[in-house]
């Protein structure tokens, strides 16, 4: 958490050394100190500013672009003539090729019309069905912002941003890039950002893995409903990646000492322990080996990610009221401080007995994980050594920089030891 090791509010454009061929031809100092005049943006975008988020992209021709799509910017295009995204009404549309075969719900046109006429919140409360209304409006959706040790102005990427329940609150503190593949929620989120005056929220309609994002450019990546992203088919025409490939792709985008926040359901959690506000979402049957705490941990290790902290999300991971770390003292403290226990001593006693780090992660509630990329391990010998974690963009990796444990410490916990 040392400020020096965190990216400043305006990050240097090339973390892994100067890019050899940049379309906008800006020096490092042009963003940091302002001593060099900003070059005119040939792609029609605004010059980078401290407030608005920006992106580092790689075009198909191999050139690197620094795009800062503003409110009324034009298209993002490369010198080679390739148009990467069309910017309209605060939404950068990268994905004209993505075909979502699932039709939009019937209430979308009414929601958008109402939101344009009045305000997004009023429209959401009037038109959205209850689970989606909570997704959009419930302040606890952005609970992860309370436990992420990021400095103000850090660069955050929110994947599967949906209606903006997480991206919009975070954009009040951080510079947020929100990616959403479906066109309707992306349009709603762009409208929401415009109406709330969120200058530091950049909305992209895209499949984030095909965006061409340069690696190592985000201080935090947030995947609020990770189980939806890799494994479950949701109507998109293209096949979904495996969880391991998904995690490796996300890891590559992390800056040195960056954090990956994942929230995942625990299908084996007891309803009574979750609490009264839990909304049951129908889930497919899952294997206890893969979708338990230890199964997830095994997967993270294979993906080259180090588990910094694991949280129990109560009542569920989509809208957590409480986030209790998997730590003996924290679990015991939470178990001792429930006001209802004063009137039910036997249940209170049982509750305290069960508040153990080995039992609660199995049955207590959904999971949230804070992960950091592990440095690549040297290969000591051919036999008996673990292979290096797979990478989806090995050629474009920044040089390995030792991770600063002091930057995002939750250092001595049982999870980090594991």
């Amino acid at each position: 958490m040392a400020p020096a090791s965190i990216a400043p509010a305006v990050s240097p454009p090339h973390r892994g050394g100067p890019a050899p061929d940049t379309a906008t031809a800006r020096g490092d100092a042009s963003l940091g100190t302002g001593s060099v005049a900003l070059a005119a943006a040939p792609n029609g975008c605004h010059p980078p500013s401290a407030e608005q988020p920006w992106l580092e992209l790689r075009c198909a021709c191999g050139r690197t672009l620094h795009a800062q799509p503003g409110r009324d910017a034009g298209d993002i295009s490369c010198e080679c003539g390739n148009v990467l995204a069309a910017c309209r009404h605060g939404l950068a549309d990268f994905a004209p090729a993505i075909a979502i075969s699932r039709p939009a719900p019937l209430w979308w046109p009414r929601l958008m019309a109402e939101a344009r006429r009045t305000h997004w919140r009023q429209a959401a409360e009037g038109c959205l069905p209850p689970p989606l209304r909570d997704d959009a409006c419930q302040p606890n959706r952005a609970a992860c912002g309370d436990v992420l040790p990021l400095p103000p102005g850090a660069r955050v990427l929110v994947l599967a941003a949906g209606l903006g329940g997480i991206a919009a609150p975070l954009a009040r503190q951080f510079s947020v890039v929100a990616v959403e593949a479906a066109p309707e929620p992306a349009a709603f989120l762009a409208l929401r950002a415009r109406q709330d005056g969120l200058d530091r929220l950049l909305v992209l309609r895209a499949d984030w893995r095909s965006l061409g994002l340069l690696p190592g450019q985000f201080d935090a990546i947030i995947a609020p409903s990770w189980e939806m992203a890799p494994a479950a088919p949701n109507g998109a025409d293209r096949p979904r990646p495996t969880p391991l490939a998904w995690l490796c792709a996300a890891r590559d985008l992390l800056a040195p000492a960056g954090i990956l926040y994942l929230a995942a359901p625990n299908p084996w959690a007891l309803r009574r322990w979750r609490g009264p506000n839990h909304v049951r979402v129908s889930e497919p049957p899952r294997s206890i080996r893969a979708h338990s705490y230890f199964g997830y941990r095994r997967l993270f290790r294979r993906a080259g990610l180090r588990l910094q902290s694991a949280y129990l999300c109560l009542p569920d991971h989509r809208c957590p009221l409480e986030m209790v770390p998997r730590h003996p003292a924290a679990l015991a403290f939470r178990a001792r401080h429930q006001p209802w226990q004063a009137h039910h001593p036997w249940r209170a006693w049982l509750h305290r007995i069960c508040a153990r780090p080995w039992l609660w992660p199995a049955l207590g509630g959904d999971f949230a994980f804070l992960l950091a990329a592990t440095p690549p391990r040297p290969i000591r010998g051919a036999a008996g050594s673990a292979p290096p974690p797979p990478s989806v963009a090995a050629s474009s990796h920044p040089p390995p920089i030792p991770l600063g444990r002091a930057a995002f410490p939750a250092p001595n916990g049982p999870d980090s030891a594991a």
Binding site: A143, P149, E322, A329, F333
Partner: protein, 317 residues
């Protein structure tokens, strides 16, 4: 993460975990745990709307005032405070202990509850002795009669759904008694705000500290417990305070001070009127419409029953 929380998190030696606990729509409680400790090293309260920021501001002011007595009273220390105009953050020292059991059955009091009453009674006396009442805009120290007059003066603010005119009339009738000096009261002294660690009692949530009658905290501790299954609020209250029996006898013996029946009557009905004002959302702490409606349904039968019995003094037998 709030800037102040991040700074404290960085400075905490041997930190291990940060928990987000007990969040309400615009309030969040964070607790930091360090290695080898069973209770949090510090606790941060965050509020991001104006009513709750006002509550935090008030708690900070109270804890600064109590700083020298924090150890004796088992109160947390205010470690840091920031109010950006949009979000307020108060960082408090962590306290050991757990919420004590409080079983108040229809006819008896559990042994743990008896012990808690004993500790609570001593604690209330200690608070009244250590913390003098602040006389604001008034030269003479306030009396319970002054507080009653203030409440009666603002009766028009209380909405019509809460028919407490008869209750206020009963309070007004007792104001002719000799002046009863007001003392400092915690203001939210219920079992959920108490932490017992061995023989020590720690108390949290200090935003309601203010003048009151000597039995205000005791009334709140006794009456805020939910009624057991099968009993209504009035049936429990009747067994606790108005019907002779072992429960009322035990509660009367555990009271922190003995008052004559008229003063007892004034103290209890003034407490009840202030409590209902709080339930109606007119006090410092905001109440949601759902909570107000639930409380109204629970307390209206109590008001009607007391009115039928002409507001008897508690512990009459």
């Amino acid at each position: 993460m709030h800037e102040l929380v991040r700074e404290f998190w960085t400075r905490t030696p041997r930190r291990e975990a940060l928990a987000r606990l007990r969040s309400a729509p615009h309030t969040t409680l964070l607790a930091c745990f360090a290695a080898g400790q069973r209770h949090p090293a510090w606790v941060a309260k965050l509020a991001c709307d104006e009513p709750r920021r006002a509550v935090l501001r008030r708690e900070h002011a109270v804890l600064c005032r109590l700083h020298s007595h924090a150890l004796e009273l088992g109160a947390p220390r205010a470690l840091a405070w920031a109010d950006s105009g949009r979000e307020a953050c108060l960082i408090l020292s962590g306290l050991p202990g757990a919420i004590p059991p409080w079983q108040c059955g229809p006819g008896r009091l559990g042994s743990a509850a008896v012990r808690l009453l004993h500790h609570a009674s001593h604690w209330i006396q200690r608070l009244q002795a250590l913390v003098p009442v602040v006389a604001d805009r008034r030269q003479a120290p306030p009396t319970v009669q002054h507080l009653a007059a203030e409440l009666i003066a603002e009766r028009r603010r209380i909405p019509d759904q809460w028919p407490i005119a008869a209750l206020l009339a009963a309070v007004q009738a007792e104001c002719r008694q000799p002046p009863l000096p007001a003392v400092s009261c915690h203001g939210d002294f219920w079992v959920g705000n108490l932490l017992r660690a061995g023989r020590r009692l720690h108390v949290v949530d200090w935003n309601g500290l203010g003048p009151g009658s000597p039995l205000d905290d005791y009334w709140l501790l006794v009456t805020k417990s939910p009624p057991p299954r099968g009993l209504s609020r009035w049936q429990l209250l009747e067994r606790q305070l108005f019907r002779p029996g072992p429960l009322a006898h035990r509660l009367r013996r555990a009271a922190p001070c003995a008052l004559p029946p008229p003063a007892l009557r004034l103290s209890f009905y003034l407490f009840l009127a202030r409590r209902l004002r709080w339930e109606a959302g007119l006090a410092l702490q905001p109440r949601t419409a759902w909570h107000q409606e639930t409380s109204r349904r629970e307390w209206l039968p109590v008001l009607q029953a007391l009115e039928e019995r002409a507001f008897p003094p508690p512990f009459r037998a």
